[in-house]
């Protein structure tokens, strides 16, 4: 594929997409002292040339719509087109966030119903939709735990417990809220080390952050006992909903004993990942945390009309975390998806995500790959370790990831979780058909064969993409993060 120049390189003085320009006005109304002397060097290109440039760039991406994307922990499933089309109806797009509620009943009805559906499917007491991503949902959850202890005058709880297999956001979030992070180890079989947990718990424990099924792809079987232990110690349980897709409609975090959860709606509720956002990280809470929910929340009056609940309604709220109402347009997409699935569809999400993962795991094992947790059921994802291939052939997880791209598959998540060497975390999701899974298994087997005969060819991959393997060290050392207009002119 040919190199696409930067749009700045196509820019010519005096060109422009002139149909997009409003009529010129008489001069600049700014005080002279504030007027800009040099215009910003934004591109000057015609409309077709701009459209063509960005269309060509799009073609350099892998995406769910074009490729199997078994990226563990990211739930790359089909993003139904209807969700996008219906969230982008003019009546929704043109609504100002501060427009009167009397002119917002349509959107508020959708959001209120979404709150309810999420509440029921997770078994929580109440839901707030405002967090703008999973990490902000985590922040919200831990902030509520902090506010809860504080409101009770329980000031000595300075520690958050996090298993060593957790997502990096968990410890990073606890730190942002001023907590000390205490890591506890994971057992051989993937469950939390119960004895280590007991030892870590005490009057300093504010709470524990858990993902279930864990990032290791297995269900934490003693979750109820863990919940009881943590509660006895006066701590609260935080559920990282990154893997909610695995259990949707099968078991509910609220029933497991969790006090607060966040849901990545861009995973389980199929809103787009968009090349890294926008996400949406709705939170669900138990009754005792409900007074602390972030605002605004959608409430319904006795006459059936909807309105925003604010500080007056929730005086103990941890407050506002986004300028307006979080990623409302994403929430509308999640609403449409939830309605398309309905209760029957929600149960099938977990069923088929799990069927696909266990099938793929069995097929990989058949081909001789080593599973990190052999003998356990896969949840919606599982881990293959290439420790043996690395020892025997110097074949690494990264080599396989890059070579898979040549075969037309997006790579699984590599090197996470950190405690499994040379790992591939593979999550096929429920929307893939059996043929895609079989083709992936064949590609993996074929790469292993290639490594036995021509390891250099594998290590040189990718060969067939717009670029070959990129020098990341150079990127960090010789920092080039914007176009150098002068450099270009000099050249």
């Amino acid at each position: 594929m040919s190199t696409e120049p930067l749009i700045f390189q196509n820019s010519r003085d005096g060109r422009g997409a002139k149909a997009q320009w409003p009529a010129a006005t008489d001069g600049n109304a700014l005080p002279d002292s504030l007027v800009r002397k040099q215009p910003p060097r934004l591109p000057q290109t015609g409309e077709l040339q701009t459209v063509r440039h960005y269309t060509r760039l799009s073609q350099k991406n892998f995406s769910i719509d074009t490729h199997f994307y078994p990226l563990g922990s990211c739930t790359m499933k089909y993003n139904p087109r209807a969700c996008n089309t219906l969230a982008m109806l003019p009546g929704f797009l043109m609504r100002h966030p501060l427009a009167p509620v009397s002119r917002s009943q349509g959107v508020l009805a959708c959001l209120h119903e979404l709150q309810d559906m999420l509440r029921h499917v997770t078994g929580m007491h109440a839901v707030s939709l405002t967090p703008m991503a999973g990490a902000q949902g985590e922040f919200t959850g831990v902030a509520m735990i902090r506010a809860y202890h504080k409101a009770r005058g329980d000031e000595g709880r300075t520690e958050i417990i996090v298993p060593d297999a957790a997502h990096g956001t968990n410890p990073a979030t606890a730190t942002m809220l001023g907590f000390d992070v205490r890591e506890i180890p994971t057992r051989e079989d993937g469950d939390v080390d119960f004895e280590a947990l007991k030892e870590a718990l005490g009057p300093q424990t504010a709470g524990i952050m858990l993902t279930n099924p864990s990032t290791l792809g297995v269900f934490e079987r003693r979750i109820k006992e863990i919940a009881d232990l943590v509660h006895e110690a006066g701590g609260l349980l935080y559920y990282d909903g990154a893997n909610l897709n695995a259990i949707l409609g099968k078991t509910r975090p609220g029933d497991m004993g969790f006090d607060v959860i966040h849901m990545n709606l861009h995973k389980t509720f199929s809103t787009p990942h968009g090349g890294g956002g926008p996400g949406a990280g709705a939170v669900g809470v138990s009754e005792r945390l409900a007074p602390f929910m972030p605002i605004p929340v959608v409430g319904q009056a006795d006459d059936g009309s909807y309105r925003w609940l604010d500080e007056q309604d929730l005086p103990q709220s941890i407050g506002r975390l986004s300028t307006f109402m979080g990623n409302a347009g994403v929430l509308l997409r999640a609403y449409v998806y939830a309605r398309l699935l309905g209760r029957e569809g929600m149960e099938r999400v977990a069923e088929f995500a799990t069927l696909n993962a266990n099938y793929l795991m069995a097929r990989m094992k058949e081909k001789g790959f080593d599973l990190a947790f052999d003998g356990r059921r896969a949840s919606h994802e599982f881990i293959v370790t290439l420790k043996r291939q690395k020892q025997e052939l110097t074949l690494t997880a990264s080599d396989v990831a890059k070579r898979l791209l040549d075969y037309g598959f997006h790579a699984p998540t590599v090197y996470f979780p950190l405690l499994v060497p040379e790992c591939l975390l593979i999550e096929p999701t429920e929307t893939e058909d059996r043929e895609s899974l079989d083709a992936f298994v064949e590609a993996m087997a074929s790469i292993w064969e290639e490594a036995k005969t021509d390891i250099e060819h594998v290590k040189g991959a990718p060969w067939d993409l717009p670029v070959r393997r990129l020098d990341e060290t150079r990127a960090a050392r010789q920092l080039d993060v914007r176009y150098d207009f002068n450099g270009e002119a000099a050249a």
């Binding site: 006005t25 934004l42 959708c110 990096g168 109820k224 968009g274 799990t354 058909d433 670029v467």
Partner: protein, 457 residues
Amino acid sequence: MPFVPHTEKDIQEMLSVIGAPSVDALFDEIPEHLRCKKLDAIPSSAPEMEITRVMHERAAADGIALNFIGAGAYEHHIPAAVWEITTRGEFYSAYTPYQAEASQGTLQLLYEFQTMMCELTGMEISNASLYDGASSLAEALLMAVRSLGRKASGRVLLPRALHPYYRQVAANLTHAQGVTLHEVDFEAGTGLTTVAAAERAGVEAPTAVVISQPNFFGGLEDVDALTDWAHAQGALVIAVVNPTLLAVHRPPSEWGSKGADIVVGEGQPLGAPLSSGGPYFGFLCCSKQYVRQMPGRIVGRTLDLDGKPGYTLTLQAREQHIRRSKATSNICTNQGLLVTAATIYMSLLGPEGLSRVANASMANTRKLRDALTALPGVTAALSAPFFHETVLTLDRKVAPVLERLSDEGIVGGLDISGMYPELGNALLVCATETRTDADIARYKQALGEVLARAKAA
């Protein structure tokens, strides 16, 4: 069943490969007492045809009003090509570009975006976006604290004339890390933030001073004086700016004698629809010396094995997936899709188009002010020069007037009398380039009738 392609034959064959008797058996590690019962409270599956009808009805339920609210979210014209391209599946359904070789489209676009934001703000570095304007300000405050290291007092001065929601969000997101916010009053009559007022706040050794250009009232601050004063206190200057304004306004890098240190703002005016408040995106730019304290994704240009240029995420050692509890922020996602829209928007508008948008918005807001203040009972509240928003004072409570206007299909601005009681019956109004002379005349007529009717009654 929606979106699951399996046939009955597939299911049986897959189960036999797994060696499980049924799909239900795959959940046998979940203890029986935790298995959930039927989800009866959730509605049954709706076919696409049915939900399409529901959504069309709800989108139309409230009508499309003629809008005169800004207050942090602005109704600009968005070229059709922006979202046509942005919602192509290759952008829409891709993940964060961890596998750089399979994500060159998104990565090159982000590099172009970073360049455009550096051009608008005059700064050396831009990240690939944060969640929204208010949360970007919070991240900038934390970044300032990290940048000053042990010298940081954690005390931040911010104007009371900054968007009230920005002040709330900044407080909520930073207070657990020892940041304290101290408000600087605005001057009665102009609504502007003066150096004298900043001094009166009496905050010793501030870590950062926040300057909002324009401020919440639309007013244009004396950014040079404020910047120089802040630097004289040893503080970092954090500029909160409207990106459209920067097409015509001196960039923050040129404020005062040394320029701003960190620049943040709401990216929504660059191609994101109002959409009830989101998704939008926040931007954050800084000078090079602070780059290692910057939160969020950054894209860098590098070379591949053949020496050909390519793009990749860089400086990831700052981030949560590497540094865990010592990361600069817990943020993972940016607002990639919105940045895609913004990059295409800025390319289509170009320097001429964007400056026309800024100037036309300024001109329209002046026309709006002149038209409305010609009505008895309506006066301009503040005398300062303004961008594309301004505050009017009514001779009576604002809320009932806005309700009457809403009945006429006009969203007539934001009642800010509760947020700023000292301004009296204050109404914040905005007219971007999308408001025509006829729109303004319609507003004037409707407001005149509402005011006259109430007086008569």
